[in-house]
Amino acid sequence: MTESMLVARDVRMVFGGVIALDRASIEVRPGRVTGLIGRNGSGKSTLFNCLTGFLRPTAGTIELDGLDITAHAPHEVMRAGVARTFQTPRIDFQTTAREAVLCGLFTRVRHGFLSSLLGLPHALREEQTMQRRADEVVERMRMQAWAASKVNQLSMGRVRSVEVARAIAADARYLLLDEPAAGIGRDEMRVLADEIRSLADRGIGVLLVEHNFSLIRMLCEDVTVLETGAVIFRGTPEAARHDERVRQLYLGTAAAGEAA
């Protein structure tokens, strides 16, 4: 019986002459928050993109609950239940927060293009259902107070919450977050951490790519450290903090950030 998880196995990614990933592996399990850290250029984004279908690895596999999704296109990966956010939020700033959440429900649409065009009753009914569902998600993420505001009027922390809400609106089983703490303050970071924690408690497997080590420590049961495309450490955040190589390469500056 195949285990439920999203896994990258021995992924190798070569661009021209550059080896971006060298036999990198990582596991994301339901209900757990896994961290992925590394310096700039270490291959985090490359691995992230391979997991989400935006890049096809030169070698190695990506598996979802035993199914090989290495060759899946990004939209197919999403449909299979793996959602992602973007480091710089990709969102239409002119829409409201609720509308943005609504956009995340596309994978649940059963009626086809023609049904939409002709305005068939079952298409209209399904649209009503989607609208209700969007409201449910807004409630669950406790966004009601500002759901009707335009995204360009929200603080960065709230924008990130909107992105997360959009990603999980269609019941994704895995959520991959790309530096969600970038650009937000301490208080908002706590709110975000709570949100992520509650998502994990509901059974969603979370991958957290982050520079901010305190967030990693708050949330992650285990963390993988990448350097020049290879995994140099895997273990708990505490163990990572004390590992020699990790300290040398990565935590020199983060350690100072920790204390702040």
């Binding site: 939209h75 999403m78 002119q94 609720r98 293009f113 939409s116």
Partner: protein, 343 residues
């Protein structure tokens, strides 16, 4: 919101259609102009649909219409089939071709797509001019019978505007649906669309197929009205005019192409000479691109927004503002920014 109440564009179109059908028959010259305007508006709508929502600058709408026209002409004159049988072919044949074309061009940058459609349209025109067996070659096909029951001009006028209304309704249905939302996302940011689980290529292909079907219907109406079809009837000039009218009126707005068609077509009739048409159309296009790139409806929309800048819209599905780049979600006057560079 009830079905009809949320479809503002359709309601406006219905009013315009009723006026067109009531006023035109008062004068035979008007009647002819109004019928042709309606047919052109349908083709223009198809261009606006493709460009405004799918970002495909199609210069082949005239060719799709021509395919529809020839299809029904052949069915009626060679096979003796009733006009309505020709309609199903007139809609499906161009749709299929448009689908195939879209599969080829969706990964191309905008400009390449435009050129590809122009090349295709030119090729189709040459084929029509030479395929004597089917299209009658240079000479064309004459003696196309009118649509049964709609042989009288004022009745046919009603048929034309019913078609236009149905096209606007379908367009609006689409933009208010999940697929319309998906289109807005694709237009704004393809990467975002992929991350939302939207299969981009099939969606854009469906759009182009729809626009092909719409243009084909226009061609069907044309053939049964003029009763004569030749390679010059709906050629690249028609394609370009249809696109122009959509852009001038506002390709991102549902009613933009209709407005553009009315303006350019009817104003064009006032020109002193037929030869000056190119000058008028070309000049109008340049002017619009410089002054109001979102077309006339876009310009009007900006004016009214400045007027009501203080009004806060509380409803979740209010139309978006015009200032920053980006699409709207479902809204009564769905608009887009088709003329800005794709991200």
């Amino acid at each position: 919101m009830s079905f009809l109440a949320s479809r503002r564009n359709t309601l406006i179109m219905a009013v315009v259609g009723v006026i067109a059908c009531a006023v035109a028959p008062l004068n035979p010259v008007w009647l002819d102009s109004v019928i042709l305007t309606g047919i052109l508006a349908l083709i223009s709508l198809s261009a606006g649909l493709a460009f405004g929502q799918a970002g495909i600058l199609s210069m082949a709408q005239g060719a799709f219409a021509a395919i529809g026209a020839y299809a029904t002409a052949v069915c009626a004159t060679r096979l003796g089939l009733p006009a309505w049988a020709g309609l199903s072919l007139a809609i499906t044949l161009p749709a299929a071709l448009a689908w195939a074309l879209a599969r080829m061009v969706t990964r191309m940058p905008e400009l390449a797509t435009a050129l590809a459609t122009l090349a295709l349209a030119t090729l189709l025109e040459i084929v029509a001019r030479n395929w004597d067996a089917v299209t009658g070659g240079y000479v064309g096909i004459a003696g196309i019978p009118p649509v049964e029951g709609f042989g009288v001009a004022w009745r046919f006028n009603i048929l034309v505007w019913v078609f236009v209304l149905l096209a606007v309704l379908a367009y609006e249905n689409l933009m208010l649906s999940a697929h319309g939302r998906a289109l807005n996302i694709v237009r704004h940011d393809r990467t975002r669309a992929m991350a939302d689980g939207i299969a981009v290529a099939p969606l854009l292909s469906a759009m182009l197929a729809t626009s092909g079907a719409m243009a084909g219907a226009g061609g069907w109406l044309y053939a049964h009205y003029i009763t004569y079809m030749s390679p010059q009837s709906l050629d690249t000039h028609a394609s370009i005019s249809a696109l122009l009218m959509a852009v001038v009126g506002g390709a991102g707005y549902i009613l933009g192409p209709v407005l553009g068609t009315f303006l350019l077509n009817l104003l064009g009739k006032l020109l002193p000479a037929q030869e000056a048409q190119g000058l008028f159309y070309g000049g109008a296009l340049i002017l619009i691109l410089l002054v109001a790139p979102q077309g006339l409806l876009g310009w009007l929309s900006k004016l009214t927004e400045r007027g009501s800048a203080r009004k806060v819209r509380a409803t979740p599905d209010a139309p978006a503002q015009a200032s920053a780049p980006g699409p709207t979600t479902a809204g009564p006057e769905t608009k887009t920014r088709p003329l800005e560079a794709a991200p």
